[in-house]
């Protein structure tokens, strides 16, 4: 689905991402972790196609991602960013409808309206429909943005491989909705959508990810797949903290306390 080959990114003399090579397959849920300033968001933006690598190439469906038209790409991958500052008041529903804009010319079709309603139901925010976006709380706004991104993903089917990029998607959400959002993303994986998310909570990552890439100073220094156990040494290496790893009784996963 997406093939990052020896990619580096630097501004002036500082290198933000250094010789990263990762590969994400359709249907995979991949999490990128690392300390602040490790280059996670920069890498994500390059995979989204908005930043161009200083070196190396990124292939999206076997074609260089910078070779796609903006409109073309919008129908195959959606991005949820960390911050949104909107310049004019807009209703929550219209905000979600923006996700459908690439699919119609002037007026939304009935299918677009239905998809917006569906996305808002899935995130349980239908009651916010007529609220003004700028009056929403941080968490509510984040849910609405997720709805917009879900609407942009549109109908997914196994034949149509799509990519979903999430940059700290649960930073403002309470525990229930953290799981709600990640479950939504995870359910897309069953339809051959590849999900790449930047997360800060290692336990959330362990629960949802098929594969975790750990970044430090611009490089991917560890890769952990679902079958492998996380170690104290790895956590020390990546985050520079003394952590404990517990087995959860009756479950295959681990639990990290720090």
């Amino acid at each position: 689905m997406i093939d990052v080959k020896q990619v580096s990114f630097s501004i002036k003399k500082s290198v933000l991402v250094k010789e990263v090579s990762i590969r994400v397959l359709p249907g995979e849920f991949v999490v990128i972790m690392g300390a602040n300033g490790a280059g996670k968001s920069t890498l994500l933006k390059m995979m989204a196609g908005s930043l161009h690598p200083s070196e190396g190439t990124i292939l999206f469906k076997e074609k260089n991602i910078s070779g796609y038209k903006v409109e073309e790409l919008a129908k195959q991958r959606a991005v949820l960013s960390q911050h949104y500052h909107i310049s004019f008041p807009m209703s929550a529903r219209e905000m979600v409808m923006i996700g459908r804009y690439p699919y119609f010319t002037n007026q939304p079709h009935a299918a677009d309206e239905a998809m917006v309603d569906d996305a808002m139901q899935r995130m349980q925010v239908s009651t916010l429909s007529n609220r003004q976006y700028h009056s929403l709380s941080g968490g509510e706004a984040q849910k609405i943005q997720m709805c917009r991104v879900l609407a942009q993903m549109g109908y997914t089917s196994e034949t149509q491989q799509k990519l979903l990029l999430l940059d700290e998607p649960v930073s403002h959400l309470d525990i229930k909705y953290q799981h709600q959002l990640l479950n939504e993303a995870k359910s897309l994986c069953q339809k051959n959508v590849a999900v790449i998310a930047v997360l800060h909570d290692i336990n959330l990552a362990l629960k949802y990810a098929d594969k975790i890439f750990f970044m430090k100073q611009g490089s991917v220094i560890h890769t952990l797949s679902k079958e492998e156990k996380i170690t104290i040494g790895l956590l020390k290496d990546v985050f520079d903290v003394e952590a404990n790893v517990f087995n959860i009784p009756g479950q295959s996963g681990n639990f990290v306390s720090y």
């Binding site: 908005s50 960013s81 949104y84 310049s87 008041p89 003004q132």
Partner: protein
């Protein structure tokens, strides 16, 4: 609209209007002075006024959407000043040309130079403001002031070296006036405006997306660079042409979109046509005022729009501020 046609230094009755139309349809000359006033002076004036009002308001909406800022208007970011300089350049220059060239190129030369000046000024402001990484309000306005100052001093220099009648027309023109409206101006402005209105409606969706910011709009399928280039070009063309004929009319592009945002919200699909109609109505009203307050003399319309517009704008600012701090649910 009908009032605007009827009232003025010369009153015109409904009968005059009807009979002038029937005469005109029949291809005959106007029967009396009233019909002539209506056909040759009043009607083109009211039409040009409506078109200009619509142009300035739509331009306000486009520029605000593009700069992602509710206080941008053609007067603040140099478009008008640049266009004014371009036009005054032609005023002075054309005095030196011979009569034939003047008659042939006159009506086209002014809008063309105004367009050049307006585009140059707007582009300069845009590039300089963008160079500061985050395009914040303060930088934008300060750069706007600087570019405006350059445009104004250029216009000032032109009127300094101009001969008396030209200087007078530059001065009057800087305050805006519809007194010289002719049919050819109506056609040129109308054609450009109609084209740009049509185009801008097609960009309504993309302008909505731009509310999220450029990077996000890009993710949502908007080629922001192309959008910016196109809107800047079309908008400047439309404003410059209107400005070339009627002069600088401030505050229209600020007030109308602001009022409409409060009334119907910021969805560009509705905002663009609504601002167009509201702009046409308001400016016609202002022009009526300009003609009637000191009749039979005339006040430049720019004086009226600024005088009425500035307090309304301050009032609006205060209201929206209160709403924003309360996090108002609907405004």
């Amino acid at each position: 609209m009908l009032c605007a046609i009827a009232f003025g230094a010369v009153s015109i009755t409904g009968g005059d209007i009807l009979s002038s139309f029937t005469h005109w349809m029949a291809g005959k000359k106007s029967a009396n002075i009233y019909e002539a006033v209506f056909l040759q002076i009043r009607l083109p004036r009211v039409l040009l006024c409506m078109i200009t009002g619509a142009v300035l308001s739509v331009s306000g909406v486009l520029m605000q959407g593009l700069f992602r800022n509710p206080i941008v208007e053609p007067g603040l970011i140099g478009t008008s000043a640049g266009a004014a300089f371009g036009a005054s350049f032609v005023f002075v220059l054309s005095a030196g040309m011979n009569k034939e060239i003047q008659q042939f190129a006159g009506p086209l030369l002014v809008p063309l130079f105004a367009f050049g000046g307006g585009l140059l000024a707007t582009y300069t402001v845009y590039v300089l403001a963008k160079g500061t990484k985050r395009m914040d309000v303060t930088t934008l306005l300060l750069i706007g002031i600087a570019v405006n100052a350059v445009g104004l001093s250029g216009t000032g220099f032109m009127s300094y070296i101009a001969r008396d009648p030209q200087a007078r027309s530059i001065t009057f023109w800087n305050l805006g006036t519809f007194s010289g409206a002719t049919w050819i101006q109506v056609w040129i402005t109308g054609a450009v405006a109609a084209f740009v209105f049509w185009i801008s409606l097609r960009y309504a969706k993309q302008l909505n997306t731009l509310v999220l910011g450029e990077e996000e709009a890009n993710y949502a399928g908007v080629d922001t660079e192309r959008l910016k280039r196109k809107i800047m070009l079309y908008n400047t063309a439309m404003v410059s042409v209107a400005t070339a004929f009627v002069g600088v009319i401030s505050f229209m592009g600020l007030i109308v979109p602001h009022v409409m945002r409060l009334l119907i919200g910021s969805d560009h699909k509705k905002l663009l046509p609504a601002s167009m109609i509201m702009g046409a109505l308001l400016l016609t009203l202002a022009d009526m005022g300009a003609r009637l307050i000191l009749a039979p003399a005339e006040i430049p319309i720019g004086i009226i729009t600024s005088l009425v517009g500035a307090p309304v704008f301050i009032m609006l600012l205060k209201r929206t501020n209160i709403l924003h701090t309360k996090g108002g649910d609907d405004d």
